[in-house]
Symmetry: C2
């Protein structure tokens, strides 16, 4: 099967314009079919504040009411997505920016209200991703660039976690491609010692992951990221790689695999 690289970048790199442009140059050098998923960055919060809307967060997750969804959509699907697309075009990549509503590529369901009403937040289902359209776009020589906004198919846009979208797209496309999913952030990989950026754990399988969690070496925000990753591997993704966004061609990174 043909290889496909799916790269997800987070907020830190997006907030820093020179770093983002350095990343886009590196991304442009990746051969073969590829896709980019991006998170939100802090800009949406700054815009909410400038407009007098207080950002509401619970357990690190944004409560997305109507006015917040408007700003989030403008910021993620408008400003960030188009800045990335224009930057990639400059570097010779025929990028196509998308939300999940575009081409109906990611259809989500609004998160059910249990203890907390997260508002217009989307959760993915096993049938959320339309791989046919994404493959069609890749076959046209396009590089899809997905922002963390989806829709419910009934006219409602939904704010949706970018890590989750990246994993779901990687799984859906693993029927047609050998998929390498890269989670890029501001560290060199999964670290044994968070204060030492060179203490990268080069390889983690499922059994080792359980040990590292047990020992508290992997904690907090890394747990959902790695849970997502192992879920993706179990559903057909070939490799998940966790590393620094500005060192995507560097061997120092963490490779996750099932065994």
């Amino acid at each position: 099967m043909k290889k496909l690289k799916i790269i997800k970048i987070g907020g830190g790199i997006i907030d820093d314009v020179p770093s983002l442009h350095q990343f886009l140059q590196l991304f442009a050098q990746i051969d073969g079919p590829k896709m980019l998923m991006h998170g939100g960055g802090k800009g949406a919060n700054e815009m909410l504040k400038a407009l007098g809307i207080a950002p509401q967060m619970v357990n690190g997750r944004r409560i997305t009411d109507g006015p917040t969804l408007d700003i989030v959509t403008m910021f993620y699907a408008g400003k960030i997505n188009k800045a990335i697309v224009a930057g990639l075009q400059k570097n010779g990549v025929n990028a196509l920016g998308m939300s999940g509503a575009d081409g109906n590529v990611i259809q989500a369901v609004r998160r059910p209200v249990r203890d907390i009403d997260y508002g217009f937040v989307g959760d993915l289902t096993p049938v959320s991703v339309d791989d046919k359209i994404l493959i069609g776009l890749l076959n046209l020589g396009l590089t899809p660039v997905l922002c963390p906004v989806t829709h419910d198919g009934h006219g409602q846009l939904l704010n949706t976690n970018a890590d989750t979208i990246a994993a779901a797209v990687a799984v859906a496309l693993s029927q047609q491609f050998t998929v390498e999913l890269h989670y890029c952030f501001e560290k060199n990989g999964v670290l044994r010692d968070v204060s030492d950026d060179n203490s990268v754990i080069l390889k983690i399988n499922e059994a080792y992951y359980a040990q590292l969690k047990e020992a508290g070496i992997i904690a907090d925000g890394m747990i959902p990221k790695l849970d997502n990753s192992f879920g993706a591997l179990r559903q057909g993704v070939d490799k998940v790689i966790i590393g620094h966004a500005l060192k995507i061609n560097d061997p120092l990174k963490t490779v996750l695999c099932l065994s």
Copy 2:
């Protein structure tokens, strides 16, 4: 040749949510391949004001400085474009929202500074439109929805007139399709008497257009719209139709033709 309908809607319909949704239902009923271009609406000005940025207009055209371009991009490519795409998906249309940077479908040049520096405003050239990608998207069953933002290929986004984009896309696609270009607004067509919405001139050819301008019956904002339209007809577009956005299936409208 296969027929293609290209519909352009302006600001008035976008500013009124119920009208926009009524239009999207009508648009969904159009058979065969189709595309939608949308203008900006007044929302961007309201957001500029809320953020303390004074909108600058000269001769009805916006001066687009850096902060204004950011807001315009967020508003046009983010909020409006995604609201339209989600609304079309609800109505069974597989819409794909795009700026001109996406898929490099519309590459513009920054308007040269003569008397006035319009800022980040794009003008189109005869080679601005990439018809191959647009045809590829139509062949995937997608309905492109274009917002009035383009790019220069060097990383710069540009605010670009939506009427001009619609005409340029119609011309480019007239090599492969019999193209019908519809300019939709809040009147029933080109009116003989602006105070009488039923005084629609049903057919205008080039000679008659010259007479109507001479007599002052066609004036102001209609002149660039009709100049654009006749330009498109001379370059291969089959028909240009000017009518009400909420009556796209109604026979009362103005049809423009060369002779």
